[in-house]
Symmetry: C2
DNA sequence: CCAAAGGATGAAACCCGTTTCATTACTTTA
DNA sequence: TAAAGTAATGAAACGGGTTTCATCCTTTGG
């Protein structure tokens, strides 16, 4: 019913489907050697037009698809790049993954997505697996600094995305000016008239979260404002829980800096549920600039990261690492403020 | 700096990192044959305790990681299952992917996610690639019926998820009772007092969208209500555009059935922007029951699909297809109504 | 007209983990 | 004590595409 039908010695199928046959079968059919078939397929050497035609016909007839595994084994390259992310449920990472996937496709690479969920062991296993699979490189966006020591001696190039890892163990780091982002968020809330701002910090072992917090903290210090923080993970469940806590601890709050957009959305949910109006009673700002931040109602004011540029840069480093002579080891991209509906000031920037 | 250091003939690295070395090197170091090393690693045959210890020590010393590609080539199995989805940006599919990934991991399989974006050629290429990679099976959730004819003779098992494909070409189909979902949505809006309901249909070439529409349509017919429909894709951009159109064509509308949750969210955004209150002036219901439907404010009333069960069922069929004797070819799962805040009636169900 | 150069092609090695099959050594049974 | 059986292990083949190297044939230059 769905197995390949056998026809003589050659597996054939006539209904436009997929067939398994080997290069040797094709060769036999075309009355050439496997080497010649390989040359025709890859254009790696001149083949007489007459021969080429016969080979092409044989490929057509058998529906031959070259076995990628055999190719990978010899070439020591699977034309695959691993993308390690902490959560496939976080729209920020799926947006990133979507862009990287598309760009990689154009360069002839596949993306192997590894969802490690903040688990260090899973992350190590993912890297080992990618190495064992002859992947050509890794884009590491797990956010977990602890992986660093494990990376030394990794035989395939690794580029850290959204995290700061020593240039000793990775090809390069690509991240944003999170610190500036933290400052921007705080300064914006102040400009909007907030008197009582609380910063919901992401996990401090994550570089972006730490830097954002430090931006916020430094503005506080410069202006003599006491810090008010709550700790929170980068996911919505944590966001919901921490918002409850925040309202308990800081009932006077009139401005909230969320650890990222998805947390901002969950904060908004709680505020909405409690009939606390945004931005009238409390103003709210997020980080990341995911699609959803603009899709939610009201639209979320947020500090945008150039997701597309980050994806492009990271991929570029991995793909072109061999040919890079004077390579950068650090790409720091600028962030920008998107003033929308959860803060009061109508700004110049969109 | 990051290359593996060479030590004698054996590649070594002392800092806990990753190393490339072959089974033959390990064998040489342990003074055994590669076969014995393989037997120690896989437990495929008895090895003398003394020998085993030497081999283990050699593996430890070299940091040897068996090459998955070589293993896949021989075994004709990559311990990998392909998951083909139309969009990695749609939370429904990432939620699905997350669950499948987790379950597959427990069974010793990797998931290779293929984002084909509704492009038939990309989808064909993805399937060919999976075959060429010695994948063990495919979970096909692209929604695109047209792929059907391409599937015949596919040498690896395919299970269709969220779509209806002939049992001739797939191992099984797993989907929900979308028709019932369509009815449920319509009946609920009627119960909530809507007089002027518009159905925003998903692409009619997609099975779920067609079935949902037919559920809606049949309720209309049974009650003598004239149909009012607008066509829309399954993404938020389309949702935004179509809502504008809807409001133009049907200014009297007081109930909207969205093609899915993400479209419902974008509908809400437009309504909110136009100061049309939900559910007072217009009531709104979605399909899918993604996390986000509950996270948005107000919480979205929606027809939930048992995403977890679907994932589990699909994976089970693929993994266990060889041992299935009397196999089902169709798994139809029930949907359920989650009455939340975008419709008026406070229902029994949560 | 012969040598050198170039083009087309095939045989065989290669990538590396797995498995079969044969061999050796030793134990058990008759 | 011989025959039969068993455990441990290695040599070699295998999987399938790629590449090197040698070979053969044709063309070009002297």
């Amino acid at each position: 019913m769905k197995r390949v039908s056998s026809f003589g010695n050659v597996d054939l199928l006539f209904e436009g489907g997929i067939v398994l046959s080997s290069i040797r079968e094709v060769a036999r059919l075309a009355k050439v050697s496997p080497a010649t078939v390989s040359r025709v397929m890859n254009g790696t050497a001149a083949v007489a037009p007459e021969t080429r035609k016969r080979v092409l016909a044989a490929i057509e007839e058998t529906g031959f698809i070259p076995n990628e595994v055999a190719r990978s084994l010899f070439k020591k390259s699977a034309k695959t790049i691993g993308l390690i992310i902490p959560s496939i449920r976080n729209p920020y990472f799926t947006q990133l993954a979507g862009i990287i996937d598309e760009l990689a496709g154009k360069e002839g690479y596949r993306i192997f997505l590894c969802n490690v969920g903040g688990d260090l062991e899973k992350e190590k296993a993912a890297i080992q697996m990618l190495v064992a699979m002859n992947a050509d490189g890794v884009i590491l966006a797990s956010g977990n600094q602890e992986i660093q020591s494990f990376l030394s001696g990794c035989p395939i190039p690794v580029v850290a995305l959204d995290m700061m890892v020593s240039a000793e163990v990775v090809e390069a780091c690509v991240y944003c000016d999170y610190y500036q982002g933290g400052r921007l968020a705080m300064e914006h809330l102040l400009e909007c008239g907030c008197q009582n701002i609380v910063c919901i910090r992401g996990p401090q072992k994550i570089f972006s979260a730490r830097q954002r917090y430090e931006g916020y903290r430094d503005v506080c210090r410069e202006r003599g404002i006491p810090e008010q923080t709550v700790d929170c993970d980068y996911d919505f469940l944590s966001g919901l829980a921490m918002t409850e806590k925040l309202l308990e601890c800081y009932p006077q709050v009139d401005g909230i800096i969320a650890s990222n957009d998805i947390v901002a959305i969950s904060i908004y949910k709680i505020l909405h549920k409690k009939n606390i109006t945004v931005p009238d009673r409390i103003q709210l700002i997020g980080f990341d600039g995911i699609d959803l931040s603009e899709l939610m109602s009201p639209e979320l004011t947020t500090v945008c990261q150039p997701i597309e540029d980050m994806a492009k840069t990271a991929l570029d480093v991995v793909v072109r690492q061999k040919e890079n002579f004077e390579k950068e080891t650090e790409y720091i991209l600028p962030v920008s403020l998107a003033i929308r509906e959860t803060t009061k000031r109508r700004g110049r920037e969109q």
